[in-house]
């Protein structure tokens, strides 16, 4: 493992990946989430951002506005540093800006490569080659390099250079064909679900490669197709077609075999999710709801009957839930040992007592946005608890620290590069804010 750098590294680097350094060219969500996970698990992640062309999740240009809810904060002055998309998925990272289109910027990147354990990127597959940074070229600089490339369709095949984002990978991976109401069209999720799915897989792949290198000294290239990673999550529906030749329909909130299993309207306009998964649970549900009669209703005699009469069952259940508040229903049903949960929006998620008790939600101070709440580390480790301690970096916030520490650059050299728009912080010269 490489030595730790001299810039501030608090307890972020206590996780199981402590000692690992990742130099990453990731952007938007899939790539940045992948490398954020490495950071949340303790790796030192240096995110290299293009000097002139901003990450689309920073808003894509230097003139982006500060969002409405932050305008009364005097520190919130740059749209690209206050974008919730970027700021939500880039914790525990340092940000170095480089203009890779300039030979001096490219040279700096190549000098960082030997100091890194993992390189990650999620450009279109042709881009790294255009920079001369494809895997074969990287191994000339660092023979045991590990490169993880996340792309829409992978590094080979007829679609390899077709652009894609979460909103198109979702339909192209079969996900959208399965998501939706029973009588409705295929749908995309509320927020580009395929991106973080790919990010989770990418982080795991990086750790596998690190282990292999530690055991054998051999690096490797990881080609992650977001389409394929997401297809593994619909393995049941794919197996259904492979085995039966049948295409699984959209099922709304229903379950393939269990009933009742739905999200029901409550008296207070809220919604409650209720799942009854066995005959024992059904008996408890009839008791808890005060409908002992359902237990002897022949339409609901057993799970098969309930599934066949699901429409009537849903009407009956909702007639009951619509007389009570969601909180009362949740309390009553969970006390009876049933799977039930109120549908929560952001407010409910923020105050969820379970997430609070486990300190899953953390407060971090950001130089522009101030003190806000973020979701933290998604896995807990008894010996090496990682922690979300670094707020999302400002654009170029650590350029000087990284270059002076890792490459022993002098202030004069740095200032010259900054004046030429090769590195720096904030908007580069000539880009009005």
């Amino acid at each position: 493992m490489t030595d730790a750098a001299g810039y501030p590294k608090p307890e972020a680097h206590r996780g199981p990946l402590k000692g690992v350094r990742a130099i990453v060219l990731t952007q938007a969500w899939a790539g940045t989430f992948c490398t954020e996970l490495l950071g949340l698990l303790g790796a030192e992640v240096i995110q290299v951002e293009a000097r002139q062309r901003l990450d689309s999740w920073r808003g894509g240009n230097f003139k982006a506005q500060v969002p409405g809810g932050l305008r009364d904060r005097p520190t919130a002055v740059h749209g690209y540093n206050t974008n919730a998309l970027y700021n939500s998925v880039n914790l525990n990272k340092y940000c170095l800006t480089l203009n890779l289109s300039d030979p001096r910027g490219l040279d700096i990147f190549k000098r960082l490569v030997p100091l890194s354990d993992v390189i990650a990127e999620n450009f279109s597959p042709r881009v790294m080659g255009n920079f001369g940074l494809d895997y074969a070229s990287l191994t000339k600089i660092k023979p045991d390099a590990i490169l993880i490339s996340l792309s829409a369709y992978g590094g080979s095949g007829p679609y390899t250079n077709v652009p894609g984002i979460g909103g198109t990978i979702e339909p192209m991976s079969g996900m959208s064909s399965l998501l939706g109401y029973e009588d409705g069209p295929p749908m995309n999720s509320g927020q580009m679900y395929p991106d973080p799915v790919a990010g989770y897989f990418g982080a795991a792949a990086a750790v596998l490669a690190l282990r292999h290198r530690a055991r054998t000294g051999e690096g490797q290239f990881i080609d992650l197709s977001m389409q394929e990673a997401n297809m593994t999550f619909i393995g049941d529906a794919l197996m259904e077609f492979a085995l039966k030749g049948s295409v699984r329909p959209r099922m709304g909130n229903h379950h393939l075999t269990q009933a009742p299993h739905n999200i029901y309207r409550c008296a207070d306009g809220q919604w409650i999710a209720i799942a009854v998964r066995s005959e024992a649970e059904w008996e408890r549900f009839c008791d808890a709801s005060g409908h002992a009669g359902w237990g002897s209703d022949e339409r609901y005699l057993d799970n098969g009957a309930r599934k066949r009469n699901e429409a009537a069952l849903d009407v009956d259940v909702e007639a009951w839930t619509s007389t009570q508040t969601a909180d009362d229903l949740e309390a009553k049903l969970t006390a009876a040992g049933l799977a039930a949960g109120k549908v929560l929006g952001v407010g409910g998620v923020r105050t969820n007592p379970q997430l609070r008790d486990r300190d899953f939600i953390v407060e971090l101070d950001h130089p522009e946005t101030g003190r806000l709440e973020y979701v933290g580390v998604p896995v807990r480790f008894s010996e090496t608890p990682g922690a979300a301690t670094l707020p999302p970096p400002l654009h170029g916030q650590h350029s000087w620290e990284v270059l002076s520490t890792l490459l022993e650059m002098t202030r004069d050299e740095y200032d010259a590069l900054e004046a030429d728009g090769i590195t720096g912080a904030g908007a580069p010269p000539g880009y009005e804010e």
């Binding site: 409405g68 652009p163 679900y193 799915v197 593994t232 049941d236």
Partner: protein, 392 residues
């Protein structure tokens, strides 16, 4: 070629979807995964699709494993479990917190039996906190994580993700945690308890909206907001199915409008105001998309390097030329089911690739083999254990 986990043995005590998916990935990358089932089997053996009594979903989640059945409610079964743990590196489980402690197989006793062991627990709410014993499933994870509120359409109920999405997310988070703990153990000789809450793994990816609500003025109803933006990214109907045009840049918009035969809309000012102009634009753009075949339109838009997607069904994915050329589906000979083209690698590693090593096991198929191999038990001892109901 040495598989990356070739030196690792895993005991998979988990059931249903999340834990078995995590453990299968360990097997795919070379670990010896022994599925330790209760005497009545993993209920996941009944998950649809079921053909001639064999579950295709189970086969997907449990390939690359051997199966033994051990009665964790018997003293002798518990002793066997600790004995197996002495020969293992990783244990994956999904019981209600406390269940394994009560059966003398909790983290402390496993660690005593095998110093450095990694115990990965994947449960609805995690090992601690007031809800740790509360039942949960995919539906409740979607409700409580914020995702159901964000999915779906305005005026309709909140919508969960399809199938077992929350469980898969929990499974991949568990896999990430497990291999990270293993990487740490390689260097420091220290194991640990890896605690995955499926709710947290899913809420983690709700992060953008979680922060977005704090950055924005109003917390508009999530499903309503989406409806206004989605008049072309939809997906919306095309001639032979559904199509998504996600035009994030002005020049994509111009190119796409020209391709759709709508040159009068190919203007930057319309692109920037497309959400507020929804009512006048939606009919025209959707009408043009409705005239097109999805493969033809996808190829045309892709040649323009703009971003679009076809809604592909599971049937269409099997027939898709890109998926075929990448070799994503892998033919595996499964018992009873025969040769099945199964979904394959989630990512391609050049030096240590994913590989299906063996088909999913029949229930308790390897009890004798594993007890002999790991614990040195002979046929008579095994027969006694079986007669006493300690193994199956």
């Amino acid at each position: 070629m040495t598989a990356v986990l070739s030196d690792i043995r895993v005991l998979d005590l988990s059931i249903d979807v999340a834990g078995p998916f995590c453990a299968r990935l360990l097997g795919d990358f070379g670990a010896d995964v022994i599925k330790v089932e209760p005497l009545d089997g993993d209920p996941g053996r009944n998950l649809e699709p079921v053909v001639e009594g064999v579950s295709g979903f189970f086969s997907y989640l449990n390939s690359d494993k051997r199966s033994i059945a051990v009665n964790l409610d018997s003293t002798q079964g518990q002793a066997l479990m600790r004995g197996l743990a002495r020969q293992a590196d990783i244990v994956v489980e999904s019981f209600t917190p406390g269940y394994l402690d009560e059966r003398r197989a909790g983290y402390d006793l496993l660690e005593a039996a095998r110093p450095g062991i990694i115990l990965t627990s994947i449960t609805p709410f995690g090992q601690t906190g007031p809800w740790r014993h509360r039942p949960g499933n995919d539906l409740t994870a979607y409700a409580l994580s914020g995702w159901a509120d964000m999915n779906g359409q305005a005026g309709k109920p909140p919508l969960k993700g399809s199938g077992s999405q929350a469980s898969f997310v929990g499974g991949i988070a568990g896999f990430l945690g497990t291999v990270s703990a293993l990487f740490y153990r390689d260097q420091h000789d220290v194991g640990q308890h890896v605690d995955v809450s499926i709710l947290e793994a899913l809420t983690e990816i709700y992060g953008p909206r979680f922060l977005g609500a704090q950055h924005a003025d109003a917390n508009a109803e999530a499903r309503a907001t989406r409806d206004r933006q989605d008049f072309i990214s939809g997906p919306v109907p095309c001639k032979d199915g559904y199509f998504a045009l996600t035009l994030s840049r002005a020049h994509f918009w111009r190119d796409a409008m020209n391709e759709l035969g709508l040159p009068e809309l190919a203007r930057d000012d319309i692109f920037w105001n497309r959400v507020s102009m929804r009512d006048e634009l939606a009919g025209k753009v959707q009408g043009a998309i409705a005239q097109r075949d999805k493969y033809e339109l996808f190829e045309r838009i892709s040649m323009l390097r703009a971003v679009s997607g076809m809604v592909l069904s599971t049937e269409e994915l099997y027939a898709n030329p890109h998926i075929q050329e990448r070799g994503f589906f892998v033919e595996v000979e499964q018992p009873v089911l025969g040769r099945v083209a199964m979904p394959g690698a989630p990512f391609k590693m050049s030096a240590t690739p994913f590989e299906y090593q063996r088909p999913a096991p029949r229930f308790a198929q390897h009890t004798d083999e594993v007890l002999r191999e790991l614990l040195g038990l002979g046929p008579d001892s095994i027969a006694e254990l079986r007669a006493a109901g300690d193994v199956g």
